[in-house]
Symmetry: C2
Subunit: 376 residues, 2 copies
């Protein structure tokens, strides 16, 4: 299958590109390299530097014989995008080309507008570029779009009975940041494009992804993926691990009852492949909730503290979010398509801890303290 990966040099884009190429797909990996600017703007850096996309594609091919076509382009530069679609003629596009951080989007007006411009305008350009083409759009959303409603979270759609009548509607969302809100808007835009233009799209509302090792990242040096542990681009679990490794007290925001869906990076790359292999029908906007387990922040903080022998420092929660809440999200569709989940065992946690420990000297200690500014 010919698959175009957007945001292909990112934490998920790169392992996805290698995985798909290993599985015999033709892969074109596109990235505009803007992530480094975003990192610089907040003084963050991944544990290991991110290599140039062209270099690592060459490296991957020389080690495995599997080719990944690399290109440096921005989704928002329309003619460039159009020419890539014409040349590569993809059957599916996996869209990771997003500003991925909620705290980044909440730091101020410039950060917020940059997020919206990158995410929403990027997705709009993509929709216009695939209008009238037979391409399956696989869009990465996030479980965070739903927020924490007091009802069960369905997979994207909900049947609403109201005053004796009924309709199938998009599940109403309660985003908690402009990043999340940008993704909510994108989902709405894509659903509309499917309905009006007959596009076909899969929206993968992903839980928080953890893990840094896939079969392909372990093949050789330079094929690693990014590990962010700072308060802007790092997930809570990554930050806890970096705190554990450096014997810095683990900073759980507030009570820690915040519950979210989680999944292993190896499940992410399998899920996007499953979505590509099983496309929706023309005009269909399909939504899958892509996670395998639910954890509260407290559970994860406690487990890392215990494995690393570190203390916990409960800090004030910089976010406006419920710290105790109902959370029950459906996630059956990807299992139905064949996903076999990898669970967050202590072995998996220890292998992440060991990886970070090996590169411990790279950790910028000042970045371990969580969100730099308060969201309120």
């Amino acid at each position: 299958m010919r698959i175009l990966v957007l945001g292909a040099n990112g934490y998920l884009g790169w392992p996805t590109s290698m995985y798909l190429a290993s599985r015999g797909h033709e892969v074109c990996a596109m990235d505009n390299d803007i992530k480094k600017d975003w990192e610089n703007r907040v003084g963050a850096a991944p544990l290991l530097p991110t290599p140039n996309l062209f270099d690592r594609c060459y490296k991957f091919e020389s080690l495995t014989g599997n080719q990944i076509l690399a290109c440096n382009a921005d989704v928002r530069v329309y003619r460039h995008l159009q020419s890539i679609l014409l040349d590569f003629n993809p059957e599916a596009i996996i869209h990771y080309a997003e500003q991925p951080s909620a705290p980044y989007s909440m730091k101020g007006k410039e950060f917020c507008v940059e997020t919206v411009d990158n995410n929403i305008v990027g997705t709009l350009c993509l929709l216009w570029a695939i209008k009238d083409k037979d391409i399956h759009l696989v869009k990465l959303g996030t479980m965070g779009e739903y927020g924490t409603p007091n009802i069960d979270i369905e997979e994207g759609w909900i049947d609403i009975k109201h005053n004796g009548r009924e309709d199938r509607m998009l599940f109403p969302k309660k985003p908690g940041s402009f990043y999340h809100a940008s993704k909510v808007a994108e989902s709405q835009f894509i659903e509309m494009a499917c309905r009006l233009w007959g596009l076909k799209a899969t929206d993968l509302n992903q839980g928080v992804v953890y893990g840094i090792q896939t079969v392909e990242t372990e093949i050789g040096k330079g094929l690693h993926t990014a590990f962010h542990y700072d308060g802007v681009f790092g997930t809570a679990l990554n930050r806890f691990i970096a705190q554990g490794v450096t014997q810095t007290p683990i900073t759980q925001y507030g009570k820690g009852g915040q519950t979210r869906g989680w999944l292993n990076i190896v499940d992410t790359i399998r899920c996007v492949e499953l979505a590509c292999l099983n496309p929706p029908s023309e005009g269909e906007f399909r939504v899958f909730n892509q996670f395998t387990e639910q954890f509260s922040i407290k559970e994860l903080a406690d487990r890392v503290a215990s494995l690393c022998g570190t203390s916990k420092a409960r800090v004030h929660n910089p976010r406006v979010e419920a710290e105790q809440h109902y959370y029950n999200a459906k996630h059956v569709e990807l299992r139905r398509l064949g996903l076999e989940p990898h669970m967050l065992t202590d072995e998996v946690l220890m292998s992440m801890i060991e990886h970070v420990r090996r590169h411990k000297d790279n950790i910028i200690l000042k970045n371990l303290h969580g969100d730099y500014i308060q969201w309120k």
Copy 2:
């Protein structure tokens, strides 16, 4: 009350500014004058040219003694906006500063991105500018955001019972254009800003507005408001009237069963004043459905055809929309606050027809044929 009107030189912004000033409010009227560019880009023009905002404010003051402060500024130019907020210190902001046309947003990628950039980024800049300030944001939305669901349309929020649990959620929307989708996204952003930052906002989901005469527009020459009759910026009713006046067959899209909420421009300006005078509480995102009557397109086409003695030409519908559908939208809150509706009587229709007849020679005939390109 000190009220800042954004988009103050537009079809609704200008009559609103005059009305509020006449009612004793202090009014600052801001516009970036971009509407003329949008009109030029599609070859459209209002029936009478739109005067310069400064000139007409001066004119209005010289005729009535009521001052309107004019300023030329763009909501997206943040420092400019901030300095206006500092100088004028408004208690309420009425936000009309939007690209208002669905067909415009569907003409192509550039038009779509321009709409999203103006509407969504503009609103984001506004939210950041009023963060930490005690200002009531009155945002004009549209009933079109809801689309035509098969259930009753509530005023912005709906109580959803699902699997034995319950939550109050934003009413799920089904926009039919990127213009409408941009407004859906803005509503979501504003709701979030209220929830996270404690802002207070009223979202007025307005029906289609008709009418060109308010008490103030009739005071003197140059105080008129815009009448758009083309397929991009004109409403269906305006186009029908211009067709009727020029004895061009009236072009009803498809079967004409498309049903929407409608209201008179004098009710619009009263509604925004009512919203300002009765602000929501801190942190509240309040939604009112702002219309007074429901009509199908066929009803309106038939009435205008009959009043003008014109024939009807049923044309293919360039839009993807249901032509027969359930439609029952609540609109009780503004009545509760004191709105006394003006109905679309034959007298009102005739006065619009007479107004257009007086300026018949200004009508650009090629613009009477509806949407220039198909939405599909």
